[in-house]
């Protein structure tokens, strides 16, 4: 099908883009990479009266590192740029590992990190990765700005805390401590399909090799990407041995509340949560020793 008619604005500055959104509110949608919005418009599931196209706004894309090691990624940064960035591969490998599972190369050419996060699909990889990494999002509006933790950003399927005049402008990811290990795993029917379930994990050891910190974040396991804090708590203080990892995986399996999908019922998703958590934790634990 073809999209319904709309008015198109392609401002050159962030201030213009935010002013347009403030003026038109929910009648206007920001257009980032368009890899989720345009299909919805082609199906006429989404019929915005106006698109504020961000593709010509200067300064919304880019990859930068603060002195403290925090990674800043502009909302309009393409997946293609992120997956080819050698510094990100070295310092934030979880992003790269998960990006390989995001749709297909043709989609990653256009798709943006900010657009994906603002779309807030609970089956999407990057929202879960952001929770696992403890990312923070900078939101901009014509009346100012604020910062929210990734864990507070997603509130329901396709729904975030963004107000109608706000834009997700930048993603800030804190550095991984030394002795960290990360891993991403998902199960999908075919390469690039929506995952039936997936998990992103981070583990950090102390100098004695004990688990100091752990985070498990699941996708396709509820209405939003979800953390499994009780499973993480079980890991703290352990040697990340086989038994501790198995216990945590069992806990994670009980903690998530998957809703089921066309391809997987909640029972099967719960099964996958346990299996994938165990495997991902084992991989991350081994990597944290490297």
């Amino acid at each position: 099908m073809k999209p319904a008619p709309f008015d198109w604005h392609a401002p050159a500055t962030l201030a213009e883009a935010l002013a347009l959104k403030a003026h038109h509110g929910d009648a206007a949608r920001f257009l980032a990479g368009g890899q989720s919005l345009v299909p919805a418009m082609n199906f006429r599931v989404s019929q915005p009266a106006m698109l504020v196209d961000l593709n010509r706004v200067a300064g919304l894309d880019g990859i930068a590192w603060d002195a403290d090691g925090t990674l800043s990624i502009g909302a309009m940064t393409r997946y293609r740029s992120i997956e080819r960035d050698a510094a990100i591969a070295a310092r934030q490998p979880l992003l790269i590992e998960a990006l390989a599972e995001v749709a297909h190369p043709q989609i990653r050419t256009r798709g943006t990190l900010g657009g994906n996060l603002a779309h807030a699909d609970p089956a999407s990889e990057m929202p879960a990765v952001m929770l696992a990494l403890g990312a923070r999002f900078r939101l901009a509006s014509s009346s100012g700005g604020r910062e929210v933790a990734a864990a507070d950003f997603f509130i329901a399927p396709l729904t975030t805390v963004l107000a109608e005049d706000e834009m997700l402008a930048e993603i800030r990811i804190p550095p991984l401590p030394s002795r960290s290990g990360t891993a991403f795993l998902e199960v999908a029917r075919r390469r690039g399909d929506y995952a039936m379930l997936g998990v992103a994990v981070v583990v950090v050891r102390d100098a004695a090799g004990r688990c100091r910190e752990a985070r498990l974040a699941f996708l396709s396991a509820g209405p939003t990407p979800v953390l499994a804090p009780r499973a993480a708590a079980l890991l703290r203080g352990t040697a990340l041995d086989t038994k501790s990892i198995a216990d945590a995986a069992t806990m994670a399996q009980q903690e998530v509340e998957p809703m089921g999908s066309v391809q997987a019922n909640p029972g099967y998703q719960r099964h996958l949560a346990g299996v994938l958590a165990r495997r991902a934790l084992s991989i991350a634990a081994a990597r944290s020793l490297a």
Partner: protein
């Protein structure tokens, strides 16, 4: 009255000026406005890959881009691959030699995907080819001969 915008798009090195509605997809611009029907429309929601074009040097779904967004970018379609009418480029020749197409509907999209892939990966493994091919659906071939064709094209280029 809906908005109409005058745009000039660079497609295969030729500039085309047209006045279009913002909702016109790049696929429909290519096929209906300038008559380049080699770019096929399959699913129109970014899944099948039949409409894959090169956006500057990277493969992209033309069905998920509005034509008005393409100003200032170099668009390449399957019509731009062959060196001259009646001739094939090395990738197209490899497709013919290995019987890598049956109905041919998916072929233009696959040729564009693999043109970009081979430019970045001149000596790919079979696994890399299959991974790169994952965003293009073919309902005839079972993919085996397409993989053969890409590997053959890479081998001949060495």
């Amino acid at each position: 009255m809906s908005q109409r915008i005058a745009i000039t798009l660079d497609v295969n090195g030729t500039a085309y000026r047209r006045e279009v509605e913002p909702r016109l997809l790049l696929t429909d611009f290519l096929r209906h406005e300038i008559g380049l029907t080699g770019t096929h429309v399959g699913c129109e929601h970014g899944v099948c890959g039949a409409c894959t074009i090169l956006w500057d040097t990277a493969p992209a779904r033309a069905c998920l881009i509005f034509a008005v967004q393409a100003e200032g970018h170099a668009i390449h379609t399957v019509e731009g691959l062959a060196p001259a009418p009646g001739q094939l480029n090395p990738l197209q020749q490899a497709f013919q030699d290995t019987h890598a197409l049956q109905c041919g509907y998916c072929t233009p999209g696959i040729l564009m995907t693999m043109t970009a892939f081979l430019a970045e990966n001149p000596a790919p493994t079979e696994h890399q080819v299959r991974d790169a091919l994952s965003g293009n659906l073919c309902r005839c071939t079972g993919y085996q001969h397409i993989v053969d064709a890409v590997l053959l094209a890479a081998e001949r280029a060495r």
